[in-house]
């Protein structure tokens, strides 16, 4: 098997390498990929859309239909992880630790009256004492990560950034919380139901902006039509339309990242993670 694989790889690699002689040189500005359409994007983007970041203007305006379905792909990935892994069977044993003394209580089966108070904390079966340094650093760091994520989403029109990147950064702040504390703490901050609703809401915002444009008499996702309801000129309003779409993307990506992490880390039981 090893030699067959090596042979296949060598043949494929050889064919691909022999084809490179037909490719344009590294950094050649007149290569086929950099002529026709991309020149129009570079030269006309600022006139037509008023957005300096060309990647955002191409992503959310010229190719916004593509990006809409990309968001739908993300939503589907979150949905698949949820449907494949979510397991509503509760754990057999629950461990509670008395914080001041360190005595651990073990409850078997489904006890309804769990001692949820400030004296006891629920803990994982393979519990390791919390590291003070890690917890403190993460507690200080997480708000800044979230503000940075919001900046990346909101400033995506003018600097590197956008909905996908900001959404991933925001989602990773929740993952950091789940890793540094435990999964229960993170799930208390953001409930599973809210995560599901947010991931659908993101796609809905995107499609909703497209449909509003249709109702105002334009094509689907033709942001210039939004000038009829917003007090801005038709070129500026395209930037606002892109911002709305990026916010939708950011919400969907953030929720789906957390859903994927939580479901995979706890095998769908949402009780204890890594």
């Amino acid at each position: 098997m090893k030699y067959i694989g090596l042979l296949i790889v060598a043949v494929c690699g050889g064919i691909l390498l022999s084809a490179t002689s037909d490719f344009p040189d590294w950094g050649y500005s007149q290569s086929p990929a950099s002529t026709y359409l991309s020149n129009h994007y570079i030269e006309k983007s600022i006139e037509e859309t008023g957005v300096p970041n060309l990647v955002t203007s191409v992503l959310a305006d010229y190719r916004s239909f593509d990006t809409m379905f990309e968001t739908a792909v993300i939503f589907c990935a979150g949905l698949v992880c949820f449907l494949l892994l979510r397991n509503y069977n509760r754990q057999k044993k629950f461990f509670y630790r008395h914080i001041s003394t360190g005595v651990v209580l073990c409850f078997k089966d489904n006890c309804k009256n769990l001692p949820a108070s400030k004296k006891f904390e629920q803990m994982d079966a393979d519990w390791i004492p919390h590291d003070l340094i890690i917890m403190t650093v993460c507690r200080i760091l997480i708000p800044f990560i979230q503000i940075y994520a919001l900046y990346v989403v909101a400033h995506g029109d003018f600097s590197p950034g956008g909905g996908f990147q900001g959404g991933v950064i925001f989602g990773s702040s929740f993952i950091l919380l789940a890793i540094s504390y435990n999964l229960q703490t993170a799930m208390k901050k953001i409930k599973e139901k809210i995560l599901g609703l947010l991931s659908a809401l993101g796609v809905l915002i995107y499609v909703g902006i497209g449909i509003i444009c249709m109702f105002l008499g334009g094509n689907f996702l033709d942001y210039s039509q939004l000038a009829k309801i917003l007090p801005v000129d038709p070129i500026h309003v395209r930037a606002l339309g892109m911002l709305g779409v990026e916010i939708g993307v950011g919400i969907a990506v953030m929720a789906v990242m957390v859903v994927i992490y939580v479901n995979i880390a706890s095998e769908g039981r949402h009780d204890e993670g890594l």
């Binding site: 790889v9 690699g13 990929a33 992503l59 698949v80």
Partner: protein, 136 residues
Amino acid sequence: MTDFFIGIMTKYNYWLYIILMMIGLYAMIVKNNLIKKIVGMNIFQTAIILFYISIGYKTNATIPIIKNAHGDHGTGAHKLIIHAADYINPLPHVLMLTAIVVSVATFGVALALSVKIYQRYQTLEEDEIRMRLREK
């Protein structure tokens, strides 16, 4: 022979992505562990992303964000004059932004499936899974 080396020097980006791609392909074909196969798939995707980004590059060009465009947005009295050769091609960047998203989605779904396989067969080795399937 010197032509061959000049060819490599001017097109080394393609050589790098092909090598990376073949590493991914080899892992996908040969490795026995499902997680290693998934990692191989991710390396393969990364090679494609590198390929796309590299064809968008132009020498002496900057990132695709228009300079001095804040404020009047180029529609005011003094219009910005933009040369396409000064900015790298934004189109491959956009395509790869969406490709990264798809790769994250496929990675998540693949990991979910392998968790499910592990729950059922207690192993992620391909030959052992095949053995368990034959026993039934």
